[in-house]
Every structure is written in C-alpha cells, then in structure tokens.
C-alpha cells in the first residue's frame, strides 16, 4: 500500500546527514575543491558518523543503513556539497558491494575500510557511451583458476589510489555482470592521469585501463556469485549518485530563493518577479518528482533484485540528473552576475551537477532540445 511516511531509521539518518552537511560539509566545500581532496579533519568527522561506511558490525562497522536511508544520506550530503559527498559516498560504494556480495574472505577485508579513515576504495563502473551496467564492455573472464579483466573505465573515483578498486564488467561467456576486487597496485591497472575536471575534484576522478589477470578468488562473491543480485546493487549505486545531485539541486534552489527575497531590482525584491520565481518553483516540482522516482525505483530494485530494472533505473537517473543540471543552472541565473563569482556557491553547484550528469548519461533517454 501507499505509505509515504519514512521510518524512524530514515528520519534519523536523514536528519543526521543534513546536520553534518550543513555544519561540516558545506563550509568545507571550497577547501575540498582547492585541495582536490576532502580535508583530513572533515573526512575524519564524516567517517566517525558512520553514515558513509556501510559495513556490518561484525566487520567493525556501524551497520549498513537500509536502501532508502542510503538514498537520504546521499541527498542530504549532496545538499551540503556534491564534491565531498561524492568522495565519501563513492568510497562507501565499494564497501556496499563487497558487503552485499563478497565472499567471507572479501568481507573480512572490510574491517580495514570500517576502521581506517585513511582508506580510500572505489568502484570502477562507468564506461561512457550511455552503457548501463548490463551492457558494460569491460570483460571479466574466468579462465581456469584465473580471472582476466580487460577494458577501460572512466569517471573512476580515487583512480590512482583506490584500495581496493572494485571493477564491474560482464562475463564474455554469459553476458552476466561480474565484478573483481583489485588491491591497489595490481599489475595491469593503468591509471590515465587526469589534469582535473569541471568539478568534483575531491573525488580524484580518472580513467583506468585494465588488462589484469588475477586469481579467481578476486571475483566478487567468487565464481558462483549471483549476477542478478550484483546487478541490482550496481543499479542502486547509480540511483545513489543521482540522489546526491538531487540534494545539490535542492540546495541551489533554496539558496537562490533566499537570495531573491533580498535582492532588489526595479524597486522590488526580484523574487516578486515570476520570471525569477517560476523557474525556481518549476525546479521544486521536478525535484519532488525526481526524489520520488529514486525512492520508488530503489524499492522496486530491492523488492525484485532479479527483475530487469534497466529502463526504470535509466529513466530515474537521467531525469534526476537533468533536473539537477537545470535547477543549478537556474540557481546561477537567479543570482546573475553574483552567481558567476565565487563569493557564492551556486557556480560550484552548477559545475558539479553538469559533472555528475556527464558520468551517467544516455543519449537515448535525454535527447537534446533547445528551449522551445
């Protein structure tokens, strides 16, 4: 039945994430960007909340929040700063995958992630070309007691330092999704240096070329891992990233609304012009729609991990990112010349939303259209 009341865990976790975002993450956004890294003290404090290290208690973590709680964490941290939020969440994604699908041995390695704030892990997922996870061209081929991984991953967080790097690909024999857990320094992992990006520099995005042969024990969940379950979790990672963008969009719209109430032009606060308030209202409506879609599709994926959710996830991700791009754009536009200078954070959100949008973009789902 329809029940749109978040449960206690969701409410509490969302509130905690929002307070961390407001008090800690948001004020550190510029520092993280300039340093191209989350400042150590900020990372440590976020780490200590346990919000972004979803590891079971038996492995030294604070437990794995539920799927909707995770969405709420992503959105609320994104409300603080998309750069720091993405860095923290994308590190957490590796733990999520390993915790949900790893062998006992792989899971036991989570203890390090759960206890060492200096650890950085990542999932190498995206390949560009609009490919969804079921279409990945990176091959993960079992050859006897070895696994050979070949392909090119782009938009990989902590590309040069992730330990482990969980690489998602498909098994050329079956077409099914597979993943491997690669420790830092694995031979055949070539990081393509990235001189920086439009935004999200704290996530240290890079491309990775892979031609790796490792023992079959590196296969996430081993040779008999359930590909459907893995695929479902990977889809959820995409939804979580989209949720971060929704949080940023909301923040941009709130900020712009606040600014518009105080800024005077032609004798009135600019918020009193519908040319200013309508785009913000439009953004609010779309943000509600995008958030609801992320929740609903996450529920569907969780309820039926074996189902084909490619279309639904693709639509939800594409829509949420497009909404975030437009909302952050309208945020800058509302501030006008002030939106273009770094005294205000709207320009950072504008860059960040476009960056997130480029990571997971499908030309089939979001055709170009000039405004009509």
């Amino acid at each position: 039945m329809i029940d749109l009341e978040p449960d206690e865990e969701q409410v509490e976790i969302a509130a905690l994430a929002r307070s961390i975002a407001d008090e800690l993450v948001a004020p550190s956004a510029r520092d993280a960007e300039y340093a191209a890294a989350v400042p150590d003290d900020v990372w440590l404090k976020v780490f200590e909340t346990g919000l972004v290290m979803p590891v079971a208690e038996e492995h030294g973590g604070g437990g794995v929040p539920g799927p909707l709680a995770l969405l709420a964490i992503a959105e609320n941290l994104g409300h603080g700063d998309p750069g720091i939020a993405s860095a923290a969440l994308w590190h957490a994604h590796a733990a999520l995958l390993v915790g949900a699908h790893g062998t006992a041995e792989q899971r036991s390695a989570l203890t390090r992630l759960a206890t060492d704030p200096g650890a950085r892990s990542a999932v190498a997922l995206y390949e560009g070309f609009g490919r969804g996870p079921a279409e990945l061209a990176t091959s993960v081929a079992v050859e006897g007691d070895q696994v050979r991984v070949r392909g090119r991953k782009v938009g990989v967080p902590f590309a040069a330092s992730a330990d482990p790097l969980v690489v998602v690909g498909t098994d050329p024999a079956t077409g099914a999704v597979r993943a491997v857990v690669l420790p830092h320094g694995t031979a055949g992992v070539t990081v393509v240096a990235n001189p920086g990006s439009l935004a999200l520099d704290a996530t240290q995005l890079g491309a990775v070329d892979l031609d790796v042969t490792v023992p079959v024990s590196a296969l996430l969940g081993g040779p008999d891992a359930d590909p459907a379950g893995l695929l479902a979790t990977v889809q959820r990672l995409r939804l979580l990233t989209a949720s971060t963008a929704v949080g940023t969009a909301l923040r941009a719209v709130e900020y712009a609304g606040q600014y518009a109430t105080g800024r005077i032009a032609f004798g009135r606060p600019i918020a009193s012009y519908q040319g200013v308030s309508f785009p913000l209202a439009e953004a609010m409506m779309r943000i509600e729609a995008a958030r609801a879609e992320l929740v609903d599709v996450t529920n569907a994926v969780v309820a039926d991990p074996g189902g084909d959710h490619g279309t639904a996830v693709g639509q939800a991700v594409s829509y949420a990112l497009a909404v975030a791009v437009q909302a952050t754009r309208d945020g800058v536009q509302t501030l006008g010349g002030h939106g273009f200078i770094k005294d205000h954070p709207v320009e950072l959100w504008y860059r960040s939303a476009a960056t997130l949008s480029a990571l997971d973009f499908d030309p089939l789902r979001d055709p170009f259209q000039a405004r009509l």
Partner: protein, 396 residues
C-alpha cells in the same frame, strides 16, 4: 516497505476493474457525448453495468467507493484516473454537483438541514457559481452583487463555467455584499431554480473540450432571494452566524487539485495505451532509427506520467494524514496537466494524420485535456503557490 509508492493490492484491483469497465462500457459513448454535448441519455443504464460500487449520487443504494488502507484521498486519485481513462464524460455523472457540499461547508446548521441533508437523502442536482467573465484565478474579483432590499437579497451579475447550472435545483452563487471589503465581502447565496431573474444564458458553453460537461453561462438580473439564503449568516440570530467562510472553503478546494491532475493522467495514459498497439502494428513502416525514436518517446511518456502520479500521491498522503500541503497539491496540479497535454499531442503526432482524425478519440482527449491546466487554478497559479515555499509571500 515503510516508504512505498505502490498501491495496495485491493486498491490496484479496484482501480483496474474500474478502468476496464470505463474502457469497455463507457468509452464507446465518448464520441457521441462530445458531439451531443452531454452525457449519453442512457447514462444510468451504462453506470448500472459497473461491477463495482462507484459512489453514485443518483443511486446511493448501490454503494460508495470502498475504503482502502491506502487512505481516502489516495483512493480518490486512483478512482479519478481510472474512471477518466474510459472517457471524460463518465465521472461527472456520478455526482449531483457540488452546491450542496458548499452548503455543508459554509452553512449554518439550519441551512445544512434545509439544503444539504435532503440532497444526501434523496439525491438531486446542485451547482456552484463562482467564476465570472471578468475573472478566473483571482476569485477576490467577484463582481456579482447581492444587495439587501428589506426581506430579500437582490443578486445581479454573470457567472460562467457553472457546472450543471442550467439543471440544478439551486445554485450556490458567490456574490459580494460590499465591494469595499474585498474578499471578506464575498458571500455565498442559495439561488433556487425558477427564481425570477435567474436566467440561463447558455445551457452549455461552446468549449474546446469536455463538451459533455454541462457548464452553464448564467445571468442574475435583479434576482431576489430570501434573507436566509445567505450561507453562514443567521438572519434572526446573528450571533449564530458562522461567517462567510469564503477563504476556508476555497482553500479546501485546493486539495481537489491532485484529483484534477489524476483526470489528466487518465486521459494521457489512455492515449498512450491506444497508440502503442497501433504503432507496434505499423512498425514495419518506420526506419529502424525512427522506430527507436518512437520507442523512446513511448518510454519517456510512460515515465513522465509515473512522475505525475507520484507527486499526486505525495500531495494526497498529506491530506489523508491531516497535515495537508497546499504546495504539494499545487505541484501536483502544476505538473501533470501540462505534461498530459504534451503526451496526448505526441501520441497524435506519432500516428500522423490518423492521429487527428475523429476515427480515434485522441483528438478529443487532446481537446478535453487542455482545461485541466486551467481550471481550479492555472499552471501559473500553481507555480505561484509552489514558489511560496521558497520565497514566501513575494511569489505572486
């Protein structure tokens, strides 16, 4: 699941049954209803074929819409979408108008006993007249006047878009007793049919769509009604007056907005569902690239209607929980109707000239749908309301 957009199985089943019935039994009369500008003459018989209770005002003995655990307002959403999926003519036949509901909302106990209770017991048509040629969204501009003349209120003015106004037993007319008072001067008056000076200028306005909905253009020309017909006002015991209640009454109407959005979604979903099999049958006529574009359009349209439904749910859950959100209601009404227009138009375009032909209902639904972004607050009005969550009263 503690946070879910999925209807309960019983409500899903009810809605599916309703949708199938409205498609099978009611849709065949859609063209006729449009051309004749009214419900089919055998509407009662058609409604009698419903396998589930519809909550008919004319036959209350057939039962109300059941209660579902999802909540009453969520149920309404499913109900409105499913019944309108067949065609727009069906839903207005269920109720006898909303004049009596206004009496209930605004009247003194005595007035409720006189004009509301009997309608509940025996049925009957009532109407509600607010909109005038001179205003739409800005209801504070009511220009119809009610002037006291000894034992009467004398009403003068014009009303348009008065649903069922030509047939109703009485029309609840909003008129101002003192223009200086602005919105506070606006009161509601029960004007019975047959009162001298109550003229039906046009029984059913000539409209782009929803032609089967009888909306009347009325004129009140020195129309004198008894003093006690002013709702909320006790002529003998002024201390018992409950006030004009105008703002509150209109405020409550705000929560009907997602229902109207659901009507729009019903039409748009019907359009997609009509064209999809036709297009699939014609697939060979498209180049592979164009067919891919057609499939993409269908996917995108279904997805956007789902978004509209979810905003509707978000809005109406707040009503069911007793903490109604005006801004979510406005977001719901701001989103789906405009989207539905686009969806129906695209369905037409995908079919090409076949899409505009009266062989199909698409052209009709395209006409019908346009009002849904206009009535009960246009898209612009909804954006003002949503904007208030960000910039407060400056949005306007």
């Amino acid at each position: 699941m503690s946070y879910s957009f999925t209807l309960s199985r019983p409500l899903q089943d009810y809605a599916r049954t309703l949708r199938e019935w409205s498609t099978t039994e009611c849709r065949p009369y859609a063209r006729q209803a449009d051309e004749q500008k009214g419900r089919p003459e055998n509407w009662r018989e058609i409604l009698d074929t419903a396998p589930i209770p519809l909550g008919r005002a004319d036959k209350p003995e057939l039962g109300q819409v059941p209660t579902f655990e999802d909540g009453d307002w969520i149920t309404k959403l499913a109900f409105y979408e499913a019944i309108n999926y067949g065609d727009v003519w069906v839903h207005p036949t269920l109720g006898g108008g909303i004049g009596d509901l206004v009496v209930k909302a605004l009247g003194t106990p005595k007035q409720v006993a006189e004009w509301y209770d009997p309608i509940q017991q025996r049925g009957g048509a009532t109407a509600f007249a607010l909109t005038e040629p001179g205003f739409g969204s800005d209801t504070s501009m009511v220009a119809t006047t009610a002037v006291r003349d000894n034992d009467s209120w004398v009403v003068n003015g014009s009303k348009m878009y008065c649903t069922g106004g030509a047939f109703a037993e009485y029309v609840v007319v909003f008129a101002t007793v003192d223009k200086e008072l602005g919105a506070r001067g606006i009161n509601a008056f029960v004007v019975p049919r047959g009162t001298p000076g109550f003229n039906v200028v046009k029984e059913n306005e000539d409209k782009l769509g929803i032609r089967s909905w009888t909306t009347s253009l009325l004129e009140f020309d020195d129309c004198a009604i008894p003093l006690e017909n002013r709702l909320g006002w006790d002529v003998d015991h002024p201390e018992n007056s409950v006030g004009n209640g105008y703002g509150g009454a209109l405020g409550a109407l705000a929560f009907n907005r997602p229902n109207m959005a659901a009507l729009a979604i019903g039409l748009a979903q019907a359009s997609i569902d009509v064209v999809t099999p036709i297009l699939k049958g014609q697939q060979a006529g498209f180049t592979p690239q164009r067919w891919s574009a057609v499939e993409r359009d269908l996917e995108a349209m279904n997805a956007t209607l789902e978004r509209g439904r979810r905003i509707n749910y978000l809005a109406q859950v707040t009503v069911d929980r007793g903490r109604p959100s005006r801004s979510l209601a406005a977001a719901a009404k701001g989103f789906a109707p405009e989207t539905a227009e686009r969806v129906i138009r695209r369905c037409i375009e995908l079919l090409g000239p076949e899409g505009v032909s009266k062989e199909l209902l698409l052209e009709k639904w395209y006409r019908d749908s346009k009002i849904m972004d206009i009535f009960e607050g246009s898209g612009q009005v909804q954006r003002i309301i949503v904007g208030r969550t960000l910039v407060g009263g400056l949005a306007g």
